[in-house]
């Protein structure tokens, strides 16, 4: 087992009584106490408080510390910030921290870690720093990490660890047990054993509990499962995550183009990808980019502003529709009062459909097999919602203003815009997906433009057509 696994952090019950609140977050009192100690120059007191924490909590502590106080905190707790802590840390915070460290220190931390965690840390660094760290690593680790870095970012090759247990087909359970007890440099971080042919191609897999429940003399080929999910080394991490989810995998073999076993991926490296991939759609749909609260403000402004500028263009397009009806509005200003209701409700309905479709696409629930069923489904929902909203707004506006033509036009526009929202909300993301554009990133602009333009045009257009007046 790696040494950090055994680091002496307190057990869960004790921890939750002291540093952590009921939601497993560091208590603000605790964070303040540590930072106060650092500020008073009492490095020892700070160290003693931080020492019992789990690496994930130390990483959280550094993230929760204001950027200007981080160097002093890191100085005080020094050696507690090991590779494990770095690999748990937010990318932006880690990058800033690593820049302040010496390459030899970083190399020392990286050497303790499994390839995948080391690669995650080194892969994020600038070219020059990367080279300095690689130069300071032992040759074996260096070769392994350089090879991993040769795979594209966010691919299985970056995620996998090269440390694994692979045994030949002719071994028995007893052979495997003897091999595992004997080899001192074998990894302890494995959950299944891969059985390979002489060309090092996987032929089966055996989960450890089966080995433990089987007599020594049984051949591995009789215990192993022949069917296994293999991950090509260049597969995108999102696909890897979906595969782990779909087949409920704990670990899986990674193979190169020739089908040779080159590494393994374990589920603990996948859970954060599953969470990120599922969570990032909300950020993309709203145009907040990666939406990480530790992202430098400058970058956050750049991402969000470019999205706002695109939306400004579409808002101007929609207002050009209003512009066409200035004469009607000047003659009957009530039209200007009601028109944002039509466009706004369409926008809301469109966003609902969009969220459902984007999510269904991301989870592989919506495929070519049920596209038309989905379009029909959303249109039926839009028709029902449109009818209900049209009735409510039609009757309501008649009770207030007593202008029947106005209320009929208002209700009709509401129905039309809801149908447009439902249709756009499903067709736009499906079309983008077909053209391999991420529907979460670009759909909202198209759909809200559609509902704004359609809302203004149907309401003001119908009002003009039927000469609605005070």
């Amino acid at each position: 087992m790696s040494e950090t696994d055994l680091s002496n952090y307190k057990d869960d019950r004790e921890r939750s009584e002291s540093e952590l609140d009921e939601g497993d977050r560091l208590k603000p009192e605790f964070v303040r106490a540590v930072l106060d100690a650092v500020e008073e120059g009492d490095a020892e007191a700070a160290y003693d408080r931080v020492e019992p924490l789990h690496p994930a909590d130390i990483a959280d502590l550094i993230e929760l510390t204001p950027a200007e106080q981080r160097p002093a905190l890191v100085d005080a707790v020094g050696s507690l910030i090991d590779g494990e802590v770095l690999s748990e840390m937010n990318d932006w915070v880690r990058e800033a921290l690593i820049e302040s460290l010496d390459p030899h220190q970083v190399a020392g931390m990286a050497a303790e870690l499994d390839t995948d965690d080391a690669v995650a840390i080194i892969g994020d660094m600038e070219e020059a720093d990367q080279q300095a760290v690689l130069d300071a690593l032992p040759p074996d680790d260096r070769a392994a990490i350089e090879e991993a870095l040769s795979y594209p970012e966010e691919s299985a090759g970056r995620l996998m660890q090269r440390e694994l247990i692979a045994v030949p087909e002719h071994w028995t359970v007893g052979d495997v047990l003897d091999y595992l007890r004997g080899g001192d440099d074998l990894t302890s971080d494995f959950w299944e054993i891969f059985i390979v042919d002489p060309g090092h191609r996987p032929v089966g897999t055996c989960q450890l509990s089966w080995i433990l429940r089987t007599p020594r003399i049984v051949s591995m080929t009789d215990v192993m499962k022949r069917e296994q999910t293999l991950i090509p080394v260049d597969m995108d991490q999102e696909e890897v995550a979906l595969r782990f989810q779909k087949y409920a995998l704990i670990s899986a073999a990674v193979i190169d183009a020739a089908g040779r076993l080159v590494g393994q991926i374990t589920v603990d490296d996948i859970v954060h990808i599953i969470s990120e991939e599922a969570g990032e759609d909300i950020l993309r749909l709203s145009g907040a980019g990666e939406g990480d609260i530790n992202e430098p403000i400058r970058l956050a402004v750049r991402t969000r502003l470019s999205w706002l500028i695109v939306n400004l263009a579409t808002a101007i397009l929609a207002s050009a529709v209003v512009d066409m009806f200035q004469a009607q509005i000047a003659a009957f200003a009530l039209l200007a009062v009601l028109m944002p209701i039509v466009s706004g409700m369409g926008g809301n309905a469109g966003t609902q459909t969009l969220a459902v479709v984007v999510r269904a696409l991301a989870t592989n629930q919506l495929t070519d097999s049920n596209t038309w069923w989905m379009v029909a489904r959303e249109l039926r929902i839009a028709a029902a919602n449109g009818a209900a909203l049209g009735t409510v707004t039609g009757i309501g506006s008649f009770l207030i203003y007593g202008n029947a033509p106005l209320s009929l036009v208002f209700a009709a526009a509401m129905v039309i815009n809801n149908l447009a929202a439902g249709l756009g909300g499903v067709i736009v993301p499906l079309t983008l997906d077909r053209f391999r554009v991420d529907p979460a990133v670009s759909s909202a602009v198209f759909v809200t433009t559609l509902t704004d333009v359609m809302g203004f045009f149907s309401f003001l257009g119908l009002a003009t057509l039927f000469s609605v007046s005070p």
Copy 2:
């Protein structure tokens, strides 16, 4: 190992060449071929095609089949739909399917499964059907499932499986190996062994690879790790998922109020919760409820319509602001053309902030320790975005209309509304979270009301104040 683990589905490479596309989804041609066979009454052909599929893919196939064709498909493939397939199936589809089956059939399927999967299936059924299935189960399984059903929905008690390996402190590695080889009714679905004291309280945990790498004579207390994450049986599943993620767990012990070991949760049951919890925020924020595409249309309409009605109320509130300025609009209809741009841009900026804050709250990145830092951060971003957008719209509108007072008012309103959006986008979800209301569900209404009202009021109000006219 459970029998379904060894079911004879083809290996990954073969599968992806035939039934599955490159994204691991069933190909539409394959789905059509199966359904064509069913329609032609050729049950055997349908069976032969479905038989090699993984249970997860059989579940997908049934989901992708239009509801009216499902009974015929199920008749044709019959025995292939076992408990494993049911537990992989979408809740809505499963519920409808189970209603068409005999309680004894369901009981037979449930008996094959681990407690957690059986509970998930039975827990979703109607009271009367539930009782019929429970009555048909063997007494042992029945007691286990009834106990699990006594825990609240979405709690650790529902997720856990009671089957686990627990051994006393005084045992050696050899004792454990002999015990595992001897006991025929022991589970094979375990990834760590729990060491318990005489009161059955966990004192340590040992991952299987450590046992395999340690000589027989070593005492378990010398191999085990004393620090472990314990899950209280009544903990909410979202907290359980966050804990698995944070501490990179493969499995964890579940304890009752007295600290006794009552079950274990494994990560394969957690990955879909992580994905659901991360993905549902986008659906809640847009008011699409659970947003499942298999949800009956009636329920989808009800959920979405109630959200649209709430939004209608807020849209009316915003239009009441416009109503106050009818005279100004009648005198200068251009105001009605530009006002949706101000409110719309505020709405976009507010949604960006909201998405970032909701996500940071859900992932425990935003806590009491960094609340004020976050407010300051979002205000700085809002100020930068507002200044940029105000400059662009001010200059742009002056170039088009050449009306300096109008352009100044337009630009000022843009800045004001961006600041309101940034402030509201962070304060609203934080406040709701403080009062334990899910910020993803309710924030958007408040924030868009704020940006609509503020957008209309600042623009029309300033225009009135400074007597902007043609």
